[in-house]
């Protein structure tokens, strides 16, 4: 009988990440549950990492790979600061993240990332990735075990109406920062109900012209 391999270098620690971009702010959120199989490893693990002054990344997937990825990006950012005497912009960091992921195209980082921040004009930006670095700038995104539940809901709330529809509809009025935060809380409360890997606590990071701020909200622990 041919021997089948039963050891995998990867594990999925679960969890969900969301990011929403506004006119002059960006909200990045992730739950704090870390699991393996049907067990919980900890209820209090942050999936969010500030890579630069105006770039925040949230990653779900295999947290060992996520941590390794965060360290590589932090080191690269330090080199950039030494060479250019300034912080990396969010679009620059977005490209760097993509390149870093593709570098390991044939042994990928098992990390599903959302990068949020402020672009060079101070407007909110969100970049969404797959495991090997394919990325796109969007207005909102979610990744991770609860993303299948959250993404359709965000599309319903935030997606601009198609320009082909008649009668012509106005584009969705931009959300205020408080509305966006409330929307994120709603997303997670709902995802927690049906996704077993999402719950415990929600960590919300808000980036705006005043700087960066972090809030927490309790989620169901079952």
């Amino acid at each position: 009988m041919k021997q089948q391999s039963n050891w995998s270098p990867y594990d999925n620690n679960g969890g969900t990440c969301v990011a929403i971009a506004g006119a002059d702010y960006c909200v990045i959120a992730a739950d704090t549950r870390m699991s393996t199989g049907y067990s919980i490893l900890t209820r209090d693990y942050s999936k969010i990492c500030q890579l630069a002054e105006k770039s925040v990344m949230a990653s779900s997937g295999f947290q060992a790979d996520v941590r390794a990825l965060q360290k590589v990006l932090a080191a690269r950012h330090l080199i950039y600061q030494h060479q250019h005497n300034k912080q990396m912009s969010c679009p620059a960091m977005a490209q760097l993240l993509s390149n870093t992921l593709y570098y390991k195209r044939f042994f990928p980082y098992y990390a599903f990332n959302v990068l949020g921040g402020l672009d060079n004009e101070g407007k909110g930006c969100v970049f969404t990735y797959d495991a090997v670095g394919s990325y796109e700038r969007v207005g909102y995104s979610s990744q991770g075990s609860g993303s299948t539940l959250i993404m359709p809901f965000l599309d319903n709330q935030l997606k601009s109406p198609s320009p082909l529809l008649l009668p012509a509809q106005d584009a969705v009025t931009p959300l205020s920062e408080a509305e966006a935060i409330d929307l994120v809380k709603t997303c997670f409360a709902s995802a927690t109900e049906r996704d077993i890997y999402t719950g415990d606590k929600l960590e919300i990071v808000v980036l705006n012209a005043d700087g960066i701020r972090r809030d927490y909200m309790e989620l169901r622990k079952d």
Binding site: K71, A75, L78, I79, H82
Partner: protein, 273 residues
């Protein structure tokens, strides 16, 4: 020093047991423009004179940030200094990537010294023509080291290198015993005074000097021009010429790190001094 038959190769000893090429490299350091460093128990200050080639050109960069907790001032062949700074930055990044903690200053200077020594023992290389004053803060406190082209390094309370550095050394020799308990402001004042000594009468202004600080709770950063000019005016260091008109600059009380460009909350390694 005069030319002799033992000075062509770095790998040739003289009968007196000297390596002339290495000594010539140290001469290059003495020809560079001055750089000084002083330390207290909690802070280290580096200052250097920036001479531009001409009025039309910019100044040579002589002080480099190596990591949050380490910086270096150079004298001599600044190109060699730039390359060594890049090496030091790389070492610091790799160390903190592997060990998740800042590279202790003493380790970095040993690595730097070993790198310099290699160039004194290879026939196809030449010694680095730059002296480095390495200022840093780690768990064992504030440090100031001098690395020279020979591959030697020493720790100092205060030191000066480059042209006319003896004047600064003389100034500091009289006062260094007090440095260990100096406040940050006093250390900056002494640095600027010592720097002025090397200028030999020329007016000290922020356009011809660079000052950098690292300390407890204060990341290594280079002070910007307005802050330095404010310090010069506040300490009335101008010298023999009539003092510059008082700018509406900050008073002698140094404003906190934030408006000097680098946030102090990035955290040098926590100190228990």
């Amino acid at each position: 020093m005069f030319r002799n038959q033992y000075d062509t190769d770095v790998t040739t000893w003289s009968p007196q047991g000297r390596l002339f090429q290495v000594e010539y490299a140290m001469e290059a350091v003495k020809q560079g423009s001055a750089a000084i460093g002083l330390r207290s128990k909690t802070h280290v200050v580096l200052a250097s004179v920036n001479k531009a080639q001409s009025e039309l050109s910019s100044h040579q960069k002589k002080i480099f940030k190596v990591d949050h907790h380490i910086g270096v001032a150079i004298a001599g062949l600044t190109a060699d200094g730039r390359v060594l700074s890049r090496y030091m930055r790389s070492e610091c990044i790799n160390y903190s990537y592997t060990y998740e903690s800042p590279l202790p200053v003493g380790r970095l200077v040993v690595q730097l010294a070993d790198k310099a020594q290699v160039c004194t023992q290879r026939s196809w290389k030449r010694p680095y023509g730059v002296g480095l004053l390495v200022a840093g803060l780690d768990e064992s406190g504030a440090h100031l080291y001098y690395n020279c082209p020979s591959g030697n390094y020493f720790e100092y309370q205060a030191f000066a290198i480059g042209s006319r550095s003896q004047a600064a050394k003389t100034y500091m020799e009289r006062r260094f015993e007090g440095f260990v308990s100096s406040t940050r402001e006093d250390l900056l004042k002494d640095a600027l005074f010592a720097l002025r000594e090397t200028l030999q009468g020329e007016k000290l202004k922020s356009s011809i000097c660079t000052v950098a600080v690292v300390g407890v709770g204060e990341e290594f950063h280079i002070l910007d021009n307005e802050t330095v000019q404010g310090l010069i005016d506040a300490f009335e260091i101008v010298g023999e010429e009539t003092p510059a008109p008082e700018e509406a600059a900050p008073a002698a009380d140094e404003p906190a790190a934030p408006d000097q460009g680098a946030p102090a909350d990035e955290g040098a390694a926590p100190m228990d001094i």
